[in-house]
Amino acid sequence: MASVAEASSHSPGGGYIVSDAARLKRQLRSAERRGKLKALGLVAPLFLFIVVSFIIPIVILLKNAVYDPDIADNMPATVAALQNWDGKEIPDEAIFAALAADLKAAHENRKAPLIGKRLNYDIGGIRSKIISSARKAAALTAPPYKEQMIAADRIWDDRTTWASIKKAGQKITPFYILKSVDLERDPDGSIVKVPANQAIYIDILIRTIGISLLVTVLTLILGFPVAYVLANLPPRTANLLMILVLLPFWTSLLVRTTAWFVLLQDNGPVNNLLMATGVTDEPFRLIFSRFGTIVAMTHIQLPFTLLPIYSVMKGISPSYLRAARSLGGGPIYSFLRVYLPLTLPGIGAGCLLTFILCLGYYITPALVGGPTDQMVSGFIASAMNQEGNWGKACALGAVLLVATMILFFVYNRLVGIDKVKLG
């Protein structure tokens, strides 16, 4: 400071010092910028990876859950002609002419099956009728198209067919999202519940969340005491026991699930033991049941809950508990008021990790669960592999994503994500 004051007193303008400071500032700034660029360069690969492998697919998934251009693209004339149709009566000749032209083109481009597949989601069994109508439409040369199309198939004499085409003609449609929460639009456009024999997805969502919660609680009950023991044993014994926790953790999920499959069978070791010891005469229903699903999932998820709790416990100084005891707190009181609150960040992290991983379970319920134990992911898989219904798969994925985010939000409000600690 003194030298600066001196310098300014020497130089009447003081400009030399000002320009020096500005240059210094500039140099500092460019050095900082270089540092930032370097840091960015280090982060960029991961950032790009996340964008390409995570964010873009999720955006596509969300888009496909509501974007369905099959009918609009392949029946453009009919969809345009239906714009002003009031939905009360069978359309007139002009609309039928558009239909005949669209179906003729669809037959030639082999797009009729695609149209049939989409309309079949609304009206069961219509797929083959669309395909045969398209074949017949391709042979038509002159009006009146209305009579000829109705003669080709009775579906054209039914206004639900037309209402369905009009609805499906919208490129942006809530159809799949509604279906994945057991709702649909009736021919008049109002939102109604789907028939009881199709209403399964709300149940499945509740089931998915229920199973995940139960598994999370079980892993906490089983994992907490183990984590405590591990954190407080002498290192040599603790390391040995840690291997027992980590070994299954390092084993493939599929291998562990298959092991449970063998163990839980009707003639498997568990049932044989129970029968040999006279506990039961008939084998218990262990596999293909909710019980088997919960057991296998709890086993697989245990380390995920346990390890964060363990690493938080490792950081808790034993002197806190000793202080609590020396100040007169009983063992239970000291544990509940001093130790447990200190482990909460670990419990929060472990439980959140397990819960969110559980929501996406697919292989384990598929192998050791029964039909009523399958979770949302299983239905996403069957929509893709068996039904080839991408819209439904994406909508179910979107619903699961939104449900997870809501639960995460609630969790954040209750526990606070900043309090979560992995170690």
Binding site: Q265, D266, P371, S382
Partner: protein, 345 residues
């Protein structure tokens, strides 16, 4: 590309990215004992002629073939399909139309040739009920016994598919064979079938791959199970299992070869089908599995030991259900969806 194609392309990317040899034909079938019989009768002799074959397995999912064709990324060159998939897939245009002149056979010489223009019939098989003869006393004899939990307590194995299960449910509910598909064509008929299935739902273990039923019987996991007849006969002959087939209301069907549309190896696919449909190869397959050859010229050379176990044996045919392929091709997808919903409830 369309939106579904993008996803399909993404999924198939992994499969499509693997390098493929020029003359390497990918053939997809149903796994287990059936694939083994095809390996011995078709693939191995064919490979001895200098060709290469890569085998893959599936459980008959038409959606997988459709996704490939829609994404223009066909990696399956020849697929063994059941009749409803052949028919539905042909109507949708996901299989190549068969040029019988190019194949070099008389189409009329094959049984099941009317199913579709896009397939070459390969075998006659049947979905039957089977049980462990050493454990069941008295033995079940009819489809009614499948639904009789009082007389035959224990778990049942059924295919995780409405196909044949709906038919059997209605037969057991008193519908005659002649009226079967008339009843199934009505919504009430379908409701009735599901209602009948409800009565045993809690006792059913559902199988997906054809190799599972004999395994479930062997493990004692189930007392009765539906199965494809060749798998049961195979377990009896090869592994000396005491399994018995009850031929009552066997559901008689065909398996056919289809060529997914757009395969880059169309000519090689034809060459393979020509070989696999030849009378000697077809007759040879009966040495390994109890399915009837589709090429009628192969019949004189069929392994005589297998004759009593074929679905076409007149003794086994007295109450057989001839599957209505058209019905399943039209309604299969819809019914499978309903069935899956029913399972989940």
């Amino acid at each position: 590309m369309k939106r579904s194609s993008w996803i399909a392309a993404g999924i198939l990317l992994v499969g499509g990215a693997t390098p493929v040899l020029a003359d390497d034909l990918t053939i997809v079938s149903w796994g287990g004992a059936y694939s083994e019989s095809q390996r011995k009768a078709y693939y191995e002799p064919y490979m001895k002629q200098g060709h290469k074959i890569t085998e893959e397995e599936y459980n008959g999912e038409i959606a997988k073939i459709r996704a490939m064709v829609e994404a223009n990324s066909v990696t399956w060159d020849v697929v063994d399909v059941d009749s409803q998939t052949a028919m539905a897939g042909c109507a949708e245009g996901i299989f190549e139309v068969i040029d019988w002149a190019k194949l070099g056979y008389d189409r009329a010489n094959f049984v099941g040739e009317t199913v579709s223009d896009c397939s070459v019939p390969t075998i006659v098989y049947s979905t039957v009920l089977a049980y462990d003869g050493s454990k069941m006393n008295p033995a079940p004899t009819t489809v009614n016994d499948l639904f009789d939990l009082a007389k035959f307590p224990g778990k049942r194995g059924l295919q995780k598919n409405p196909f044949v299960n709906l038919e059997w449910a209605l037969i057991a509910d008193g519908v005659s064979r002649e009226d079967l598909y008339k009843v199934m064509a009505t919504p009430e008929g379908i409701d009735r079938a599901f209602k009948k299935l409800d009565t045993i739902k809690s006792e059913v273990v559902w199988w997906e791959a054809g190799a599972q039923p004999p395994q479930m019987l062997a493990d004692g996991q189930v007392v009765i199970t539906s199965a494809w007849n060749g798998r049961i006969t195979g377990a009896v002959k090869k592994d000396n299992k005491p399994f018995k087939i009850m031929w009552d209301h066997q559901a008689f069907d065909w398996d056919l070869w289809g060529i997914p549309k757009g395969t880059p190896k169309l000519d090689q696919a034809y060459a393979f089908l020509k070989f696999a449909s030849s009378p000697p190869a077809q007759a040879d397959q009966t040495n390994y599995i109890a399915y009837g050859p589709a090429n009628k010229d192969a019949i004189p050379n069929v392994n005589k030991d297998v004759l009593p176990d074929l679905p076409t044996n007149p003794d086994n045919m007295s109450t057989a259900i001839i599957v209505d392929v058209q019905f399943w091709a039209d309604n299969g997808e819809q019914l499978r969806e309903r069935f899956n919903a029913w399972l989940a409830q």
